[in-house]
Subunit: 364 residues, 2 copies
């Protein structure tokens, strides 16, 4: 990054975000929850899904496009599954509550699975399995999102970057936390190339006619991201398959808007003319380890798994494989101590919110 | 393929495979089940996992490395989850029975999840979600397998090609069936390049020192396959993450041999010195749609999903996106009518089994 950075403590950003949500009538507990999801993303180094998004939440709330006081309810339920209607609330509030339902079911019945409709952007997917880890559960989370990705052999945006997250607790070792979009790269990497005026590798995006391109401007001109695998011979149908799986579990199973009909989470993006459901969708799962195997035995094997994989012979020019979740955990250690660095553009957005709401914000 | 092909009906191959399994003392029902899994793979065009593998099963049974009369039992259980010990039986028998447990739980409690240890190669992963479709369930299947794949930034084989399969039923449209290895390509594609003496694309494999290579011989010389995404900048950490997820759900959760310790399914491959569990592992899941949303409403939305995705603007030089499962379903239609084509090498293997067992086999 070439822009100047300011440092903020997590507590300061959490308090600010909480106040912003409360400003729109979100109750205290929900506002704190939403702020925690956002700032946890910053702590873990996932800058794209943290307070950098607060201005968009702010705009959506201001325009009345998100319901600050949702009546979140279970629409259908069986012993180990449920579907939830988020009443167009903040995804940052709806999602933790739906995930809680999945976790309680897992504690009672071995597993819990919740599909959610009528919800909005839920922050970073990894937050939800992290909640499950605190209760020694294996947690899963998925969500659909605004269309950005073309299916393999398609020449237009049909799917979101539809992430999948899952986490496994260790005993003495830290947990394994997988949190990945099903696109070849995060949209943020294309934005960085745009800012730096650099080319991007073949396989990240196609242009508006469906041709391969190395020019990130082609994305802005109506191109599309490619799914994980990018091309057929490299497994692009697999990334497309995974994105489709997420789309169906989150949306078709809950009654949300799937595929290209997902309502956008940014004001500048056009709202699809057609609706096939309510809001966007999420999918949460939780598994109770003791239903399968002794919990401590499992966690000790995870420790051993981690140690064995860490000792893999390294590829040339690397220090060997990382364990999924390593970079985010290391960021959290550093940022908890030293603070969260924000780009000037993000600080400006927060100052804009401050001006418009009267909630104080400043470099500290 | 350059080799001559012979055509066989599915029924003929099923009868032969059934007789082979019975020859080793597998009971009639189990032998028929195992043969059905194998031949269904051939019918669906997944030649690598069909009767082409029968000679390996034959060898493993002959050497006493697979138990023909396993006492398959539930080791632990909660309402919606269980772990199963396959008693070193044929994966082709253990897996359908474990999947059945998951499906019954789903019918009773909304979902069912079963992790399996002490089992062997289970054929093609898609078989199990296809079983779930017959009962209007959403079915999942995963398995670990012999090490072939390096984690991103690793220079040695640590994971199997660890497939994930999941299927969703349509109403008038055929189902969506996702069945994918978490490696960049199937090992079979490397074998084809070897046979044809052709180069392979960068990103399929690395050589024994961890360097990129286009020479498929480097795989035989101790190289490794790369995970889906191949390189860091193309998302190779995501394929590695997915393969790890499969490894842990199938093996750590059940008490099977994870990662590089998976016992091989071919006689020529070396058996790992260290054991960290029993056999290989599978993981099955089933979701009852009615626990989330009206089943017919779901299936009609799946129809609409399929139609919308089929009408995606095509990329240049293509006919547009396929729906996952299209190629396999089309193969099944053709092969059910015209027969299953087998390579001469496969026919020779089956003739060898015939000679050694006295079970008649011949071109028909």
């Amino acid at each position: 990054m070439d822009e100047p950075l300011s440092l903020f403590t997590a507590a300061y950003l959490r308090d600010f975000a909480t106040a912003v949500f409360k400003h729109f009538g979100v109750c205290k507990a929900d506002a704190e929850l939403a702020a925690d999801v956002l700032v946890k993303s910053d702590l873990r180094g996932v800058d794209s899904h943290g307070v950098a998004r607060l201005h968009t939440y702010f705009e959506m709330l201001e325009l009345g496009r998100i319901n600050p006081k949702p009546n979140i309810k279970i629409v259908r339920e069986k012993t180990s599954v449920a579907s939830v209607d988020g009443d167009n609330g903040l995804g940052l509030v709806v999602a933790p509550k739906a995930n809680e339902i999945a976790m309680v079911k897992a504690e009672q019945h071995g597993s819990g699975w919740v599909s959610v409709c009528n919800t909005n952007h839920f922050g970073f997917a990894g937050y939800y399995p992290l909640m499950a880890l605190e209760r020694d559960l294996i947690g899963w989370a998925m969500t659909n999102s605004t269309k950005l990705v073309a299916p393999l052999w398609g020449a237009e945006r049909m799917l979101g970057t539809n992430p999948i997250a899952i986490a496994f607790p260790g005993y003495q070792e830290p947990p394994i936390v997988i949190d990945m979009a099903t696109s070849a790269v995060a949209y943020g990497k294309i934005e960085i190339a745009l800012r730096k005026n650099e080319n991007i590798p073949t396989g990240w995006i196609i242009d508006r006619d469906g041709n391969d391109t190395n020019n990130p401007q082609d994305m802005l001109a109506g191109g599309a991201q490619l799914p994980l695998g990018s091309q057929k011979e490299m497994g692009g149908h697999k990334g497309y398959g995974l994105a489709s799986m997420v789309d169906i579990l989150c949306c078709v199973l809950s009654g949300a808007n799937w595929g290209p009909f997902a309502p956008p989470f940014a004001l500048r993006q056009e709202i699809p003319e057609r609706q096939v459901g309510k809001g966007i969708g999420h999918f949460f799962g939780a598994l109770q380890i003791d239903g399968f195997i002794d919990k401590d035995e499992f966690k000790k094997q995870i420790d051993e798994w981690i140690r064995v994989f860490r000792s893999t012979k390294p590829a040339p020019g690397t220090h060997g494989p990382l364990i999924p979740g390593d970079p985010e955990r290391e960021a959290e250690t550093i940022r908890s101590k030293e603070g969260i660095p924000l780009l000037k553009a993000v600080v400006d957005d927060l100052l804009d919110i401050s001006r418009k709401t009267g909630i104080p914000f400043g470099a500290k």
